[in-house]
Amino acid sequence: MTVAIASGKGGTGKTTVAVSLALSQTVPLLFLDGDVEEPNAALFLRPRILGSRPVEVRVPEVDAARCTACGACSRACRFHAIVSLKSKPLVFPELCHSCGGCVLACPSAAIRESLRAIGIIERGVSGSIRFAHGRLNVGEAMAVPVIHALREDDTQVGLTIVDAPPGTSCPVVAAIRGSDMVLLVTEPTPFGLNDLMIAVGTVRKLGLPLGVVINRSDSGNDSVRAYCGREGIPVLLEIPEDRRIAEAYSRGIPAIEARPELRTRFGLLHRRLTELAAPEARELGVGAAS
């Protein structure tokens, strides 16, 4: 089973929940940190890194000897990444989506593709947990190819946990697609509710079952709980605000180590997730009200 942990709002506790869920399990487990812009899970899981590989994307390279400056490449490109002037076309690699359209469009076979590194995937182990994360190079705009490269490591081993980035758009979609279950971590505040509603929209558009974890559950108001109730979204875990958890978090110590009594609750969470991800549950529409 693959569980993705997302949120909408940043800072609600995705990594906290993902890491504690991972540490509470005894099944073979793969942890993927998909927040490739700001990967933090390694700060808590402290994996021994065993290997790494660059994430490379294809960008066009024009052979000036063959180019006739016909402009076909420029017309084919929907991203203004290759611009044809009177002489050899100019390439803007940071705008390129690596679609290959310019290569196909060139009547003179003057364009080939070269590789450009935009990030890195690192693989390792933390105790019995297999770990991998992606890191986007600072200055690069596109997180999605790094997230796709990370999820290629997605070999089914009992349980895969994907720690998604904050937000609701394409990086989050790339991180959560194809998972069996999405857990949205929120906080009981107006910002938390607002962003949760957007995140729910994203998850539903992908047709995935979902559940909610309310973190710092006693710190705001009741509107998140009320919203989940109205929408038929199961609240699978509530974690009260706890200075000990916050302090441990600030030092890179997982919640489940700061408060060992949480272990049982995360074990229960895993059971609930398995139930909700099951095909029978999906057919009944449990947890995925439309």
Binding site: G8, K9, G10, G11, T12, T15, D35, E37, E38, N40, L43, A76, R78, F79, H97, S98, C99, G100, G101, L104, A105, L136, V138, G139, E140, A141, M142, A143, P165, P166, G167, T168, S169, C170, P171, V172, V173, R177, T189, P190, F191, N194, D195, I198, A199, G201, T202, K205, L206, S219, G220, N221, R243, A246, E247, Y249, S250, R251, G252
Partner: protein
């Protein structure tokens, strides 16, 4: 007129960007406000905006296969690099009406590159423009606010961010306001880059945690990459004073200017629930926020 653009980012999510921008907006009263966290915009929740203009954001295209014209050759599936073409197995075959394989586009996966459109021999693929969201110009008690909502699971958030900033700049010129105050997104990717390029000054709000420090250093590196001056303030500093001091030192070494610290204060959530900025309620965080604003204003040149 020389318009200053001051942008608040964080690297890490949840450090308090929007809460701070809400307070800064109240304190200055003379800025054009821009919410560039278009994925998950929250600033409007503090400012009770009255929407004056609402504009559709159309960006990019999505391929759509017209099944009537499709010959089932499968060239689109061969060429698509984004896994956006699905082959559908025919549901029934009868002697009189054998079904050819059909193909369809997954609109969420579709990158809008147009390769399938251009190379379909039967011209069977349409390529309509994508409605990717909308943006708004609103009136608030602190001045005009430009904000947006990106469509669900949409792409092109960077373009929408750029649109919001352009509108804010137009409003500033038209309204003779010399300051644009931007609530930025978390992370370091395309929406953040679109929020900070060309800004006068960036304030990175961080928290005294190992994650906060890690993420701050990446966003500061991003600012250096684009040659933009950065200021730093530590929010909720008293949750870990030792970590706060360490982060401030790391920020200084990274070339950022320190503009103050804000204590943890439950008033922040209380204010948010009341749809108010913290400085409109009062308390320790409010007092510290005023000082941070004054300090940032002084260094943003």
């Amino acid at each position: 007129m020389n318009v200053r653009e001051m942008v608040v980012v964080s690297g890490k999510g949840g450090t308090g960007k929007t809460s701070l921008v809400g307070s800064f907006a109240v304190l200055t009263q003379s800025a054009v406000l821009a919410d560039c966290d278009v994925d998950a915009a929250d600033l409007h929740l503090l400012l009770s905006p009255a929407v004056q203009r609402r504009v559709e954001f159309r960006s990019g295209h999505t391929a759509a296969i017209a099944t009537g014209r499709c010959t089932g050759c499968g060239r689109c599936l061969e060429l698509c690099r984004f896994g956006a073409i699905r082959a559908s197995v025919p549901s029934r075959e009868t002697a009189s009406a054998p079904q050819k394989p059909g193909f369809s586009v997954d609109p969420v996966a579709c990158e809008g590159c147009g390769v399938c459109v251009d190379h379909c021999a039967a011209g069977a693929i349409d390529f309509p423009e994508r409605l990717s969201g909308e943006w708004f110009v609103s009136e608030t008690r602190c001045g005009p606010l430009v904000h947006a909502r990106l469509g669900i699971a949409a792409e092109n958030s960077g373009k929408l961010v750029s649109t919001v900033r352009r509108q804010a700049r137009d409003l500033a010129q038209a309204g003779h306001r010399a300051l644009i105050l931007v609530d930025g997104p978390p992370g370091i990717g395309c929406p953040v880059i679109a929020s900070i390029t060309g800004a006068t000054s960036v304030l990175a709000v961080t928290e005294p945690t190992i994650s906060g420090e890690h993420d701050l250093l990446r966003v500061l590196e991003l600012c250096r990459h684009f040659d933009i001056e950065a200021a730093v303030c530590v929010n909720k500093w008293d949750l870990n004073p030792e970590a706060s001091a360490r982060i401030e030192e790391a920020a200084r070494v990274a070339g950022a200017l320190l503009v103050g610290r804000i204590p943890y204060d439950p008033t922040v959530t209380r204010a948010q629930i009341q749809a108010r900025a913290v400085v409109e309620i009062g308390g320790p965080a409010a007092a510290a926020t005023r000082k941070v604003w004054d300090a940032w204003l002084a260094v943003a040149s």
